[in-house]
């Protein structure tokens, strides 16, 4: 049997075929030559779905909250993209988010686990592509869950229409709240595990931080949840809905999406340049330059300059 064409795969994915959608996601996840074709094909039908980012410290309850949100959204075909780190040593990964979700979500929820796979720059391209494919397949909303450690992971979750940041009681005081970049991206805060002591203290610390100022005219609301019991999830969903309507009537939605599209182009260029940079290091002249650096004959700075010069001409080529 011949492999199905790209159009056939998209058509099946649109009608709810999980396998077709799974295959398409694998293609963009690999970021090989096919990925560009898939991305371009998805671009035609995408742009409809609402994208919600969920981030926070490991073990704060993001997966449980994400699963619950998909359930209370009442959507016909919600999707979850759950991102976990790959081991930097072996490239392997344990993707364990589904075990926190499966019991709560309906069978119409599409869950895909994604590993960060090596350098984080790839994630900045693979995730928007995966969201685009899910969107083109008719999934809505799309919830992207990442561990809130590392600039790229936070940025990925923040590249959403609405970003939810999850903290737990005892996570830190108001000073921590201010210095952690994680908190600047929040549209909605969740204090999860609210059945634990000092949940209200955690809320107070966040309020204090917000009192010192926040971006624009949206002040991030703080919702207390006990996600394992499903408590507070309805409140969280209504705050997300409220933020969605704010995005629409303030014009912020368009601004955010424009920003997101622009930054994806930048990310793709960076990734492309990085790949080409690795090529010039790998080739013969690159290797001989590297050997001279190893022997202390050439400084790393001079070597990098030399190799870069072969990649980017000083002057742009004339038309």
């Amino acid at each position: 049997m011949n492999a199905p064409s790209l159009d056939e795969l998209f058509e099946s994915a649109r009608t709810g075929n999980r396998r077709a959608l799974g295959r398409l996601l694998t293609m963009v996840e690999r970021q090989d030559d096919n990925a560009v074709l898939v991305s371009e094909r998805a671009h035609r039908d995408a742009g409809q779905a609402r994208v919600i980012g969920v981030t926070g410290a490991p073990g704060s309850g993001k997966s449980t909250i994400t699963g619950r949100l998909a359930a209370v959204s009442g959507a016909a075909r919600p999707a979850i993209l759950a991102i976990d780190p790959s081991s930097p040593l072996t490239g392997g990964a344990i993707l364990g988010d589904r075990i926190r979700m499966d019991n709560n979500v309906s069978s119409s929820t599409f869950i895909r686990s994604m590993a960060t796979r090596g350098h984080a720059g790839g994630l900045a391209v693979a995730v928007p592509d995966a969201v685009r494919v899910l969107d083109a397949a008719g999934c809505n909303p799309i919830i992207v869950e990442t561990v809130g450690v590392g600039q790229v992971e936070v940025t990925v979750a923040a590249a959403a229409d609405t970003t939810v940041v999850v903290v737990t009681p005892g996570w830190g005081d108001a000073v921590q709240a201010n210095k952690a970049g994680l908190l600047e991206v929040a549209d909605v805060f969740v204090v999860n595990k609210a059945d634990r002591p000092d949940a209200h203290g955690a809320r107070r610390d966040l309020e204090l931080m917000l009192d010192l100022g926040h971006r624009g005219d949206w002040r991030a609301p703080i919702v207390l949840t006990t996600a394992t019991e499903g408590e507070g999830i309805d409140d969280l969903w209504s705050e997300i809905e409220r933020h969605t309507s704010y995005l629409h009537h303030s014009g912020e939605l368009i601004r955010r999406r424009c920003r997101r599209r622009r930054s994806e182009v930048t990310d793709r260029i960076e990734l492309g340049l990085r790949d080409r940079a690795l090529h010039i290091i790998d080739d013969q002249s690159g290797e001989s330059t590297m050997v001279r650096v190893e022997r202390h004959e050439l400084s790393p700075a001079a070597a990098a300059e030399q190799l870069l010069a072969t990649l980017i001409p000083d002057k742009p080529p004339e038309e």
Partner: protein
């Protein structure tokens, strides 16, 4: 069906990293072995989609489809393998997934042949080393490849 030029046969190549769905099927609470295997396969560079306890054939098939998995690993310690493992194989066939089913856990020697005849790719016992587990998973995927 026509094939768009430039699109390679999808996933039939089983590029690394292999994606493995690990689960316990049915009513069985012994998940320590499964956790060890999850860690072993991760350390061998695979991506492990860990479903954990109390899964059904339906939930495993759904996860395989959504995750575009290359292989299913089931851990069995409840003496239900003769009933459950063939059902898993059948569910995989019905869904047209074409992924091998690897069993680990406590399976008496005389039952191994029965499971293999029922379509299980390989049965790994308590004595299997981590190297054997990794090699068996890779071999099961490689054997299945042409059929996918």
């Amino acid at each position: 069906m026509s094939e768009t030029p430039g699109i390679s046969p999808l996933s039939a190549d089983h590029q690394e990293p292999l994606r493995v769905v690990l689960a316990k099927l049915g009513f069985d609470g012994h998940d320590r072995g499964l956790k060890v295997v999850a860690r072993t396969l991760r350390d061998a560079g695979m991506e492990v989609i860990y479903l954990g306890l109390r899964q059904t054939t339906d939930s495993i098939v759904a996860a395989c489809e959504q995750e575009d998995a290359d292989v299913i690993g089931l851990s069995m310690h409840n003496a239900g393998h003769l009933t459950l493992a063939p059902r898993m194989v059948q569910a995989v066939e019905e869904a047209g997934l074409g992924v091998p089913v690897v069993i680990g856990g406590i399976v008496p020697a005389e039952d191994v042949t029965v499971l293999i005849e029922a379509g299980v790719a390989v049965v790994l016992g308590p004595g299997a080393s981590t190297e054997e587990v990794v090699a068996a998973v890779r071999a099961a995927v490689a054997r299945q490849s042409p059929a996918r």
